[in-house]
């Protein structure tokens, strides 16, 4: 997904001289290297200096530029948090903070490289928008939005590499701020975002094979959240399953529960999140997800 992001950003940036890419000592993936060669004045590597990365982006935006700050999610969002809050949120500047390898994708690097709370933290900042594309195709749409919008700051949560395409024949196009039905059904709704859409799709496919009419939904815009769309999904399905690679607080799952309460939803609602606990074990991404209860088998056995 990071290569797809880089390609989409390169395409946008080569036609828009106001787009800058400010990175913090991270190898320029894919087309970003090409961008840095072709447009060296608009590719800035601040080094291991994430506060400065955000501050420089703010200064660029204050003068009318459209900057992207890019590094591993934990360093792009957590380390310079107060700069993101004050410089980007408070001043409401159109800067995109890209959190690459978000969630627990860096599954062998330990907790210092995990972002289990990023949606909650970014979402708590007024003016902040949050996008979490579920596959490379959604990443293109999300990046195009980030490159052209002037609404305010964005936290763009992306994966790393190897994510499968799941939206190629989606029932609906990507639209900022709206739930996206990848498939439409009437019995069960499986809702997720980000790179674990792969597991969500497996859950949906299995349920469909068992004879259910299944919706698979990408909640790619976490803020502003499509509350009406979620309410509709809760009303129009017998069972709603939310799967997210995020702590139990502040993400899609608790917000969906809140909406369900507000509308007095009568469907079954199952949520699967990471635990409220740091991860001290290692292995593959799937291994770590499973350790926190997120695997296709566990989800299927839990929902009965």
């Amino acid at each position: 997904m990071r290569n797809t992001f880089s390609e989409a950003l390169y395409e946008a940036a080569k036609n828009d001289p106001s787009i800058y890419i400010v990175v913090a000592d991270i190898s320029p993936a894919g087309s970003m290297a090409q961008f840095s060669t072709e447009y060296p004045d608009r590719f800035i590597n601040v080094g291991v200096a994430e506060q400065s990365m955000i501050g420089i982006c703010a200064g660029l935006a204050l003068k009318g530029c459209q900057p992207f700050a890019y590094t591993i999610a934990t360093f792009s969002l957590y380390r310079p948090f107060e700069f993101i809050r004050d410089d980007l949120g408070y001043q409401n500047l159109p800067v995109t903070v890209v959190g690459m390898g978000a969630g627990i994708i860096y599954s062998t690097l330990g907790g210092t490289h995990h972002t289990q709370e990023d949606i909650a933290i970014a979402g708590a900042i007024p003016n902040m928008q949050i996008l979490a594309p579920c596959d490379p195709l959604e990443c293109i749409d999300a990046t195009k939005y980030c490159a052209t919008q002037k609404t305010g700051p964005i936290y763009l949560r992306i994966g790393k590499a190897g994510e499968p395409v799941v939206t190629e024949n989606a029932a609906e196009p990507w639209k900022f701020g709206k739930l996206r039905y990848i498939t439409r059904g009437t019995d069960v709704c499986v809702m997720s975002y980000g790179v674990i859409m792969k597991q969500a799709k497996e859950v949906a496919d299995t349920l469909r094979a068992q004879g259910n009419s299944v919706s698979l939904v990408s909640a790619h815009t976490l803020k502003p959240l499509d509350r009406d769309g979620i309410a509709d999904a809760l009303k129009s399905h017998n069972k709603v399953i939310v799967i997210e690679e995020h702590a139990p607080q502040g993400g899609l799952a608790p917000q969906t529960k809140q909406i369900a309460w507000d509308i007095r939803a009568t469907c079954d609602l199952h949520t699967f999140t990471l635990k409220d606990a740091f991860i001290h074990n290692y292995g593959s991404h799937d291994d770590l997800l499973a350790a926190h209860g997120i695997s296709v088998d566990k989800i299927l056995s839990s929902i009965g």
Binding site: P17, D41, S52, I54, G55, L60, L62, K63
Partner: protein, 277 residues
């Protein structure tokens, strides 16, 4: 780099007169609202006056190609009274300072007239100034970015990230003033952080041009900036006195934030009047 051409020849008498006027106006406002950071504003009065009236082209106006950023946001009262004097902020704006009806608070808020960035949390301004300077060059403009930092602000790690980057990024259209009044909340900086001095060496080590000047001498500030090489970012280390201009305030930490009572106010006005040259 592009040449910055200050809009007028330097007039030291007019500059001193303006500084006195601005201090008196700040004293006047201190009688309506207690939250003022008066000592911090008096510390950088000459620096900010020089930037606005002698260094920025077209002065403090909406159409200056140059930019002023008050990184030590708590000193913004001097910025407010200068913007008021030029009609960018109104008297009503200042009358309603820190009131529910007003729009001006103790720290600059982006979106208010003449305010180029929101500050207040120390250590943010320099990175933003660098970003602005890069943008100016990227757009092919010749704007100069002027920023004022406090010396306490130099203790923020983020400031050193930015100092490291400015020269590395060849940001030669950036002029930074350090309001080196030697005070922060818990005492003299030279006593709490003696290894921090001399300051100019630190900037020079990171590839800046750095010059130390008497920070209440606007002519020297002006001459230092206009005679810079223009090939590097410039740091002007301004040796200043916190609370400058009012004897009972000078170098007394309580005047970082306290406002004078009516009796002290009259004494302050009298002292300023006696400084007429």
């Amino acid at each position: 780099m592009s040449e910055s051409t200050p809009s007028q020849n330097f007039d030291p008498v007019a500059s001193r007169k303006r500084c006195r006027k601005f201090r008196k106006r700040i004293l006047e406002i201190s009688q309506q609202v207690m939250a003022l950071h008066i000592g911090s504003a008096f510390s950088c009065t000459e620096i900010v006056e020089c930037i606005y009236f002698s260094l920025m082209r077209n002065g403090p106006s909406h159409n200056s190609p140059d930019t002023f950023l008050m990184s030590k946001g708590h000193g913004c009262m001097i910025q407010y009274v200068i913007l008021e004097s030029m009609g960018i902020l109104s008297r009503q704006d200042l009358d309603q300072y820190c009131t529910p009806e007003g729009r001006l608070g103790c720290h600059p808020d982006y979106g208010n007239p003449g305010i180029e960035a929101s500050t207040g949390s120390l250590g943010h301004g320099l990175s933003m100034a660098i970003g602005m300077a890069i943008a100016e060059k990227g757009f092919g403009k010749d704007g100069i970015i002027y920023a004022v930092l406090s010396d306490g602000e130099l203790q923020e790690g983020s400031t050193w990230e930015a100092i490291m980057m400015a020269s590395s990024l060849n940001v030669d259209n950036l002029v930074v003033f350090i309001d080196n009044n030697d005070f922060q909340s818990l005492g003299r900086t030279s006593e709490t952080h003696p290894s921090f001095y001399p300051v100019d060496d630190k900037f020079t080590a990171f590839g800046w041009e750095a010059v130390e000047v008497e920070g209440h001498d606007t002519q020297k500030i002006f001459e230092t900036v206009t005679s810079r090489s223009g090939t590097k970012p410039l740091a002007v280390i301004c040796k200043t006195t916190k609370g400058k201009g009012i004897s009972y305030m000078e170098n007394i930490p309580i005047w970082h934030y306290r406002s004078p009572n009516p009796e002290e106010y009259l004494i302050g006005l009298k002292e300023l009047d006696e400084q007429r040259s």
